[in-house]
């Protein structure tokens, strides 16, 4: 019988998933859009504001969705974004 997640798993409270703090150095962003495109959780989007380099830096849509994989940090050609793991009491829960 195929497993369908129609019922909230009973141990969901026990699941520790990292919580993120996303830091964007807006004026260093050059607007390539890689962080937005390749974020596996689609946490980022292009903002309307225009930065010192005349581009639209990314904006965080939902920090809660971020799982701190750090790909945005690694793929950013301008060192304009980085993510640190939030420190919660005994780990953060879903």
């Amino acid at each position: 019988m195929p497993v369908r997640l129609w019922r909230t798993p009973l141990d969901i409270e026990k699941v520790k998933l990292p919580k993120a703090e996303i830091h964007i150095t807006k004026d260093q962003c050059n607007g390539c859009g890689y962080c937005i495109q390749y974020c596996p959780k689609k946490v980022l989007e292009e903002s309307e504001e225009i930065n010192a380099r005349g581009v639209h830096p990314p904006r965080v849509v939902d920090e809660g969705k971020c799982i701190v994989c750090g790909f945005c940090t690694a793929v950013c050609p301008d060192f304009a974004i980085f993510v640190v793991e939030k420190q919660c009491e005994g780990g953060c829960y879903v």
Binding site: M1, V3, R4, R7, P9, L10, L17, P18
Partner: protein, 786 residues
Amino acid sequence: MNIAGSVDCEGVAKFAAGLPHVVLAKDNRYTCSDQGQELIKSDVKEHKLNRVVVASCSPRLHEPTFRKACEEAGLNKYLFEMANIREQCSWVHLHDREAATEKAKDLVKMAAAKAALLQPAEEIEAPIIRKALVIGGGVAGIQAALDLADTGYKVYLVEKEPSIGGTMARIDKTFPTMDCSICILAPKMSDVGHHPNIELLANSDVVDVKGYVGNFHVKVLKKPRYVTKDCSACGECIEVCPVIAPNEFDAGLAIRHAIYTPFAQAVPSAYIIDMGICLNKDGVIVCDKCMKACDRQAINFEMKPETVEFDAGTIIVAIGADIFDPSAAPNYGYGKYTNVITSLEFERLINAGGPSGGHLIRPSDMQIPQRVAFIQCVGSRSDKIERLYCSNVCCMNTIKDSLLIKEHWPETEIYVFYVDIRAYGKGFEDLYKRARKEGVKFIRGLPAEVIEDRKTHNLWLIGENTLQKKLYEMNVDMVILSVGLEPRKDSEIIQRLLTLSRTQDGFFMEAHPKLKPVDAATGGIFFAGCAESPKDIKDSVTQASAAAARSGILMARGKVTVEAITPIAYPENCNACGLCTKVCPYNAITLNKELKRIEVIEAACGGCGTCAAECPFGALTQNHFTDEQIVAQIDAVTEQGAEKKVVAFCCNWCAYAGADFAGVSRMQYPPSVRIIRTMCSGRVAPKFVERAFARGAAAVLVAGCHPGDCHYINANYQTQKRVERLWKRMEQQGLNKERLQLLWASAAEGERFASKIREMQAMVEKVTLEDIENAKKVFEKALGGG
């Protein structure tokens, strides 16, 4: 009074005595018994008999028995022939003694005619590869693999899941003894993992099987785990993996990560990455947390699927069964009401290692329920959802579960809604009694529906108590659906790969329900566990050991004797057209261009005889099913009253077995049909059909396995082509093509066969003498030779 009940055996015997070549005819009871066999032996010796015909049951049942008797009497076993006057006569014409007797005479006459032309033959022997393939790593597959490996045979155990263990690994306790399921299974699992004779291919699929008994060539696709053998199962990677999904093992009641191990005792213990949910797609590593966490660098995203090839002499099919998905029975609200769970979900809840740590809790509020209802036969014994069979394990499982609840929370009120309670096995009844003593209430009559109370998430059960003839409306905290077992979704794949047949239920069909319960009809293949029918653990293990023993017997002998039903070639007639090489499903015939003739590899020959049917020059025929012998049978049938008879050619594995099954099930059909057995419908040469018509037969039936189920891979596709060609010809010649019928009927489809005969009978009655004459003219050429 198997036969004599509806056939005048004495009369038949008298008739037989008058047949050409017959020097002795006897009426005797229980000829298959030892005394019966002794009688045959002594007569052979005494009367210097050189051919023997027995008219009794189906050759599929006792031909080996009588052949053995002949051999012991010094007569080559290929000089024996059988007339099937039970399954295909007495049992299907119970209420027409006269017609049944007439038919029996015909059948004997046909057998005698064929017998006169039988030739002694020696069986050739092919070596058997002393390695076995076991498909499926549930308790049945594990047991079979261990038994064979301990006997000393190399075993390839193929499991499609990442770990072996199957359904048993997920169960908490076993009935009736209340053993801890995983505690008794885990040691066997690790034995498999460590056994020097077992090569475990987990997370793998069998994708191709070629060859024949004793000489199978197997291709297995090993799906990548993305974790190498270096994995020490330390679990560091799980800690950091940020992706989660419902955990199959806990029936979705708990979560797992993208990298995971199916369960603590998994074998092999190496972890696996679920690429369906892992973030790393298209060869791009987005998240490398697990790689960073793994000291042993056991994670390798470059792993590709690999194909493993090996040879095996025997195959054990132990693919198990699926568990019925109750959302197909919407009236119980599964999938809607959180507090309606399945018996498997119950197992995970009550299991100390499960998501609730062994506490039976309501998913809605995590509270321990006070009132619990079990509903039986969910997915069993119901025509509404086309599950007509009993799933065999659910009753006892529920009784066991109810006792488990009582054990932990004696105060719980438990109601079991059932149709019948089937506690037939050893120790089962005691358990049932205990449950009742503990206060479990058994109520006959399944609820019509279950309704949830929006606020409390309690459940209302509404139905009729069929014992008290009273309607009930009952409120409980939790409902447990006792779900049934059903054939694996992917059964067709294995069926096609191994050319097996399945019953209407969809489970695999054994060679004989009584005498060959673990053999498949295809040589060298055996069944274990729920693949063949729903079973509890004990029966699965028993059958597994049986299957292991059966395949062990073959391998111990070290060689398989190929029945002497291989082609005979007459090179003088052969003009090297190569048609036979094209139709042979086994590539057992090769064309030697230099010598301008064909060569037959007998060990590779499956014995379908389609080559003989294809050859236009009479350069090929089939041992024991020669043109002459079959023609003799046709002539025998059509000697008298042909215009009222249906000449049927049935393949040994499906149609003929189906006809037997009709007999076993006492399905009644008109007596006008006379069955000529060939190994495969592919043996039926057009000239046989033509001859039948030329000799005035009212109708002809060619019957074989369903396309795709052919026991000779694809030989029955030739049958179809040939029949279509004949139909075309009949149309051109202004004949009613209805008179030639083609039927695909499996060994399980007795009714299908019976109704086809009924339908043809109706048609036969409309066939006029003029029609018969026209057909005679059209096909008269076919009378030459034979």
